[in-house]
Symmetry: C2
Amino acid sequence: MNNIKVSPLAPREFPELPAIVGVRLSVVAAGIKYSGRTDVWLAELAPGTVVAGVFTRSKTASAPVDWCREVISKNHPRAVLVNSGNANAFTGVAGRDAVKASATAIATRLDCQPDDVFLASTGVIGEPLPVQRITESMDALVSGLGSVGWPQSAAAIMTTDTFAKGAGVQFELDGGHGHIAGICKGSGMIEPDMGTMLGFLFTDVAIEREVLQQLLVECNESSFNSITVDSDTSTSDTVLLAATGTAGNAVIRSMGDPRIGAFRLALDDVMQDLARQIVRDGEGASKFITIDVCGAEDDRAARVIAKSIANSPLVKTAIAGEDANWGRVVMAVGKAGEQADRDRLRIRMGGIEIAANGQAVPEYDERPLDAHLRGSEIHISVDVGVGSGTARVWTCDLTEGYIRINADYRS
Amino acid sequence: MNNIKVSPLAPREFPELPAIVGVRLSVVAAGIKYSGRTDVWLAELAPGTVVAGVFTRSKTASAPVDWCREVISKNHPRAVLVNSGNANAFTGVAGRDAVKASATAIATRLDCQPDDVFLASTGVIGEPLPVQRITESMDALVSGLGSVGWPQSAAAIMTTDTFAKGAGVQFELDGGHGHIAGICKGSGMIEPDMGTMLGFLFTDVAIEREVLQQLLVECNESSFNSITVDSDTSTSDTVLLAATGTAGNAVIRSMGDPRIGAFRLALDDVMQDLARQIVRDGEGASKFITIDVCGAEDDRAARVIAKSIANSPLVKTAIAGEDANWGRVVMAVGKAGEQADRDRLRIRMGGIEIAANGQAVPEYDERPLDAHLRGSEIHISVDVGVGSGTARVWTCDLTEGYIRINADYRS
């Protein structure tokens, strides 16, 4: 695991992210599983911050996810604490105790209640979290607040990730500016369902919690919920969005507020950028694949079909082999179980129509198609010929690298 | 593709299958795609034979599947014609024409109607079927009837299969004997949904078509519908069961007939044997995995959970790596979306309990578990702690071999 090279699809460098007034960051190396790297991250939130969150729909959710679900509607958020190397999932009573101990250790030092602290853990499932290593690092962690930025934060929450992931934006607000900064992690066990792997977003916009929550849920649909690496949904998927209210704008109190539009566009930008970065770090990935489906019965049906294509191991291995095997796309549309008119189905790759009206397009130009498939950004577009539903999903190809990584992850 | 060795999980040899009076077999090498091997198989059925069938639920079903669905309830079955090398799927009007031409060519020679002929095709999707090669081989095919047996038949319908698959049985009936012989093919694109890949079963039992159909549907649930190789459902899945009525028994006319019991047991035996052989030939497979789920809300929920485990690439790669990574089993149970009591979940591998009551079993004996995982027959058993629903599903592991086979199948 330690010898894995950076994904060939990684961005050239970690982007410039805006600082968010009211947020201070810190990391430590607590030795939870890895040696010689940071593995605990703390974000302190200024009093008055509101937090929205979405979480995994897994029926075997981790202890930290249970904790966050419980505290999210009742607290005065003051901190987010995340560790890598251990998911604290399927750890029973010990897992719940570990969560409480971590939150209490933070609360004591930041002069708040334990349930003002959000928690997330990522790594191996089913092994007890060595929580003492976290609590023993707490003094160093708190005294380090303000000493690191986003790149160090994003690096501390990595597991099988091969690069640190961040995205940020500045937008106009009330004659001044609002800012969003986000980091996330994720590489395998990625088909976020309700929330996602771990994603943490921060903004200085002043906004009511309920409005923030609704925005997060909506933006999540077209970002983290629209990616898949391997169709496996984590026990730990968590996305938190904290708004410190330090931008100086008049508080946004409803989804009807005219300023929602710009904020939403900015949030979409950041969340989709982060989601795509997770796909770009898909275990073993050599191609980044965008799948557009149109002509479905409705948007829901379009998404089911797009996910069926994106999760098909036969489609993913064909793309890995640079093979325009659209027959496998037909198969994946068929198995999705949603309405599709076989005799009106159209399939494009790289913009070139290769199948239409129930059969192969005769004599399409293979050269530009081959060139497209040899590249690292693949575009598959399918019109299922039934209605007006559309969806866009991102995924990556399936290579021998995925097998190598996952056949010896734990050992 | 031609260099792939026989699966390490293959049976030692093709089994002895009983001859079915009223069925004559023939094969030819028509050169549809492969050179130097047979690729068309014909089974002639005696007048009076009845046929039951189940087919793919794919919304992009192949032309032969459409054909079979149309003729199954109205014909006097006289033949089954199958080709490998081309699926005749997503081939539009040309595909429908090819189906009609094949059926007519048989009908002319066997003195029956075209819709007395069942058809199936398997191979690449989306390329026009070179039907002329089939019709030109028809004289040789018909004149060869009776010259070959089950092993040659099973070999002619193979695509990426690495061994020919057959199973048969003799059972007591009305003081004499009934017989069942079946062959099938399948290796990748295997998660049969309604029917399966291609499976052809023959019996000499005298039985009404409606009763035969109901039996087939029920036995199909616990055989072909209980396997998965890669979660991809074919456009061509077809299982046909032909009963020639030559065994001499008084005709079975209802599911309440006391002789149904023995026939059903025999049919279950043969169909489950064939289904397991498909898994044993799973592309790249090195381990055969049996997954038992109990304690689910009902049998349906148990099957959803078992399939979720069986289709998880992380579970499958862990088994390939001989790693008892039961955390991934927990994940797969969780993502299935069915009720599970995380704190009562129990997981066994090779009979050894490794997780119970929401956490790892402390100090279980790792040696027998490691020995089990190094073997080629893996058993995962999960109690989800909610109700009394059970299910058994068979699958194989996911290895680099799967990627190699599928990244250059078409090219």
